[in-house]
Symmetry: C2
Subunit: 454 residues, 2 copies
C-alpha cells in the first residue's frame, strides 16, 4: 500500500537522475573545412562562423531505430545492467521512420529475447526537446506511486540532415542513452522553468517524402533566444520559491545548452547575464544602463548588446561552458541528443572532471515549434566511471573522414530512400562500425529489419 491509496506519508526516492550514460555516433564524418571548400563558401564560414570541426552522418544503413538499438545495447553491456531490471524505456526523436509505430517498440527486440516485456514508455515528440520530455517523464515515473523499483532508460536519438545549401553544414547525427534511477550520480534538482509557444521556425510536414526540415534559420535563432529568456525567468522564479533566495547565472558552476551549432552557445550563455542585468543592472557596472529600457523584442538581434555581454562572460564561458562543446563541434547537431552530448562532453573534460562533485549544472533544452525548459542538475559523485566507459575522445579520433563528394552522394541516396518505396539499400557495411546495428533490409511492405555487425 502506498500514499495514494491510504494517505500515509511515503518517502520519495531521493536524488533521481542519471546513473550512467553512453553515446553512439556513426563511424563516418565529413570535415567542415573541406566542406567549406567543396561548397565554395568563404573560408571559416563553417569552422569559425558556426564553430564546427566535423559533422557525423550515416549512410542509408542507419536510422533512428538502428542507432537506438546500438546505444541501448552498449549501455546495458558496459554497465552490466540486468535486462530484467529495466521498467521503463522512453525515446526522444524527431527522425521518425514511422508516424505510428514508436522507436521504443523496436528497442523491445533487445528485451523480449531476455524475457522482459513489461516495460512502460513510448516516444516523446517535439523537435529537439523530445529527449528532455523523455527524461522528465522517466524521473517522474520513479517518483510516482506506480514506480516498481526498476530503472528507466531514456534514449535521445536523431539524424539531422538538411537540403543542399547554407543549412547543410549544421547537420549532425548521434544517439544518447541514459540510465535513470534514484541516488544518481547526476541528480535533477526538481527546479524547471518551461516556455512553450506555437511557432513555425523549423518543422517537417508529415506528408512530404523527405527527411529534411523546412527551416527559417534566423527566425529560429530568435525563437531560441526568446525561449531562453522566458524559461530562464521561470526557472529563477521557481528557484527562489524553492530555495528561498534569488538565482543568478553565477550560481551555475557550469551551463550547457541545446547546440544547433557551437557558436550559438557563447551567445546563449551571454544572454543569461543580459537577463541577470535586466533584473539588477547595478551588478553590471560596465554595462550601459540604457540597455534595460529597450523593448525586449529589439534585444534579440542587437549586435551591440550581444558584444557587450560576450565580453562580460568571456572568461566564465571558457571555464564553465566551453568544456561541454567538444562533441557538438565533432558531431554537429544531435537534435534530441544535443544537450545530453554536452553533458557527456563536460564530464569527460580533463580540465574539470577532477572537481565536479557538488557542482550545479544549468541546462537549457530547446525544441523548435516550440518547447523549451531551463533546469538544473547536481553532480553528486565522481563521474570518472561514466566518462571512461563512454571514452568519447578516443572514439572520436578513430572515425573515418569521408570527402565532401562522398558525403553528398550518400545524402543523395538517402533522398531517394525517402522518395522511392522500391529503393534498394546501397550503403557499404565498411561505413558501419563494429558492435553496431544497421538496416539489413527494407522489404516491399516497407518493414525494416536490423542486423548487428559484431
Amino acid at each position: 500500500m502506498n500514499g495514494s491509496e491510504n494517505g500515509v506519508e511515503r518517502t520519495l526516492p531521493k536524488n533521481v537522475g542519471i546513473l550512467a550514460m553512453d553515446i553512439y555516433f556513426p563511424l563516418i564524418c565529413v570535415n567542415q573545412e573541406e566542406l567549406e571548400t567543396f561548397d565554395g563558401v568563404s573560408k571559416g564560414k563553417y569552422t569559425i562562423g558556426l564553430g564546427q570541426t566535423n559533422m557525423a552522418f550515416p549512410t542509408d544503413r542507419e536510422d533512428v531505430c538502428s542507432m537506438s538499438l546500438t546505444v541501448v545495447r552498449s549501455l546495458m553491456e558496459k554497465y552490466n545492467v540486468s535486462y530484467q531490471n529495466i521498467g521503463r524505456i522512453e525515446v526522444g526523436s524527431e527522425s521518425l521512420i514511422d508516424k505510428s509505430k514508436s522507436v521504443k517498440t523496436v528497442i523491445m527486440q533487445l528485451f523480449t529475447d531476455k524475457g522482459n516485456t513489461d516495460i512502460e514508455g513510448v516516444d516523446s515528440l517535439n523537435a529537439c526537446y523530445g529527449g528532455t520530455a523523455a527524461l522528465f517523464n522517466a524521473v517522474n515515473w520513479i517518483e510516482s506511486s506506480s514506480w516498481d523499483g526498476r530503472l528507466a532508460i531514456v534514449v535521445a536519438a536523431d539524424i539531422a540532415l538538411y537540403e543542399r545549401g547554407p543549412a547543410r553544414a549544421t547537420g549532425g547525427c548521434g544517439a544518447i542513452a541514459m540510465l535513470i534511477g534514484p541516488d544518481a550520480t547526476i541528480a535533477l534538482e526538481g527546479i524547471k522553468g518551461t516556455y512553450m509557444e506555437d511557432v513555425y521556425d523549423f518543422y517537417k510536414p508529415a506528408f512530404l517524402p523527405k527527411e529534411y526540415p523546412i527551416v527559417d534559420g534566423h527566425y529560429s535563432i530568435k525563437c531560441y533566444m526568446k525561449a531562453l529568456d522566458h524559461s530562464y525567468k521561470a526557472y529563477r522564479t521557481r528557484f527562489e520559491r524553492k530555495m528561498g533566495h534569488p538565482f543568478t547565472a553565477n550560481q551555475a558552476d557550469f551551463a550547457i545548452f541545446h547546440t544547433p551549432f557551437t557558436k550559438i552557445v557563447s551567445k546563449a550563455y551571454a544572454r543569461l547575464y543580459f537577463n541577470d542585468y535586466l533584473g539588477n543592472p547595478s551588478e553590471f557596472p560596465n554595462v550601459p544602463s540604457s540597455y534595460k529600457d529597450l523593448p525586449l523584442e529589439e534585444t534579440f538581434v542587437n549586435a551591440e548588446i550581444e558584444k557587450t555581454f560576450l565580453n562580460e562572460t568571456k572568461t566564465k564561458y571558457a571555464q564553465r561552458v566551453q568544456p561541454s562543446t567538444f562533441l557538438s563541434k565533432e558531431l554537429g547537431n544531435l537534435y534530441c541528443g544535443s544537450l545530453y552530448s554536452c553533458l557527456l562532453s563536460l564530464i569527460s573534460d580533463q580540465s574539470v572532471v577532477k572537481d565536479l562533485v557538488g557542482k550545479r549544472v544549468l541546462l537549457y533544452s530547446y525544441g523548435s515549434g516550440l518547447a523549451a525548459t531551463t533546469f538544473s542538475v547536481v553532480i553528486r559523485a565522481p563521474v570518472h566511471n561514466i566518462s571512461e566507459k563512454a571514452d568519447i575522445h578516443s572514439r572520436i579520433s578513430k572515425r573515418v573522414q569521408l570527402p565532401p563528394q562522398e558525403f553528398t552522394q550518400i545524402l543523395d541516396g538517402r533522398e531517394l530512400l525517402c522518395k522511392d518505396p522500391s529503393y534498394t539499400l546501397s550503403g557499404s557495411l565498411k561505413n558501419v562500425g563494429n558492435s553496431t546495428y544497421y538496416v539489413e533490409e527494407i522489404n516491399e511492405k516497407l518493414r525494416r529489419r536490423y542486423a548487428f555487425k559484431q
Copy 2:
C-alpha cells in the same frame, strides 16, 4: 523543500486521476448500413460483423490540431477552468501533420493569449496507445517532486482513415480531453500490467505521402489478443502484490477496451475469462478442461474456445461492458481516444450511472507496433456532472449523415491533400459544426492556420 532534496517524507497527492472529460467529434458521419450497400458487401458485414452503426469523419477542414484546439477549449469553458491553473498538457495521437512540431505546441495558442506559457508536456507517440502514455505521464507528474500544484490536460485525438477496401469501414474520428489532478472523480489505482513487443501489425511509414496505415488486420487482432493476455497477466501479478489477494475479471465491476471495432470487445472480455480459466480451471465447470493444455498460440484464433467463453460471459458482458460501447458504435475507431470514449460512454449510460460510486473499471489500452497496458480506475464520486456536460447522446443524434458517395469524395480530397503540396482546401464550412476550430489555410510553406467557427 521536498523529499527529493532533504529526505523528509512527503504526502503524495492522493487519488490522482480524471477530474473532468469532454469529447469532440465531427458534425458529419456516414451510416454503416448505407456503406454496406455502397460497397456492395453482404448485408450486415459492417453493422453486425463489425458491430458499427455510423462512422465519424472530417473534411479537409479538420486535422488533429484543429480537433485538439476544439476539445481543449470546450473542456476549459464547460468547467470554467482558469487558464493559469494548467501546468501540463500532453497529447496522444498518431494523426500527425508534422514529424517534428508537436500538436501540443499548437494547443499553446489558447494559453499564450491568456499569459500562461509555462506548461510542460509534449506529444506521446505509439499508435492508439499515445493517449494512455500521456495519461500515465500526467498522473506521474502530479505525483512527482516537480509538481507545482496545477492541473494537467491529456488530449487523445485521431483521424482514422483507411484506403478503399475492407478496412475502410473501420475508420473513425474524435478527440478526448481529460482534466487530471488529485482527489479525482475517476482515480487511477496505480496498478498496471504492460506488454510491449516489436511487431508490424499496423504502421505508417514516415515518407509515404498518405495518411492511411499499412495494416494486416488478422495479424493485428492476434497481436491485440496476445497483448491482452500478457498485460492482463502482468496486471494480476501486480494487483496481488499490492492488494495481497489474487485478481480475477469478476472483480472488475466494468471493463472497457480499446475498440478498433465494437465486435472485438465481446471477444476481448471473453478472453479475460479464458485467462482466469487457465489460472484456475476448476472455477469453470462448464468449460472443457482440455483447453488448458493447448499451446497458447493456437488459442488466439480458436473458434470453439471463443464461442465457449462468449457464452460464459454473455450476461456479464451486457451488464459490465456493453454500456461502454455507445460512442464506438457511433463514431468508429478513435485510435488514441477510443478507450477514453468508452469510459465516457460508460459514465453517460443511464442504466449504470446511478450506481457507479465505488466501482472499479478495468481498462485495456492497445497500440499497434505494439504497446499495451491493462490498468484500473475507481470511480470515487458521482459522475453526472461530467456526463451532463459532455451530453453525448444528444450531440450524437444531432449529427448530419452524408451519403457514402460524398464520404468517398471527401476522402479522395484528403488523399490529394497528402500528395500535393499545392492542394487548396475545398471542404465546405457547412460540414464544420459551431464552436469548432477548422483549418483556415495551408500556405505555400505548408504552415497551417486555424480559425474558430462561432
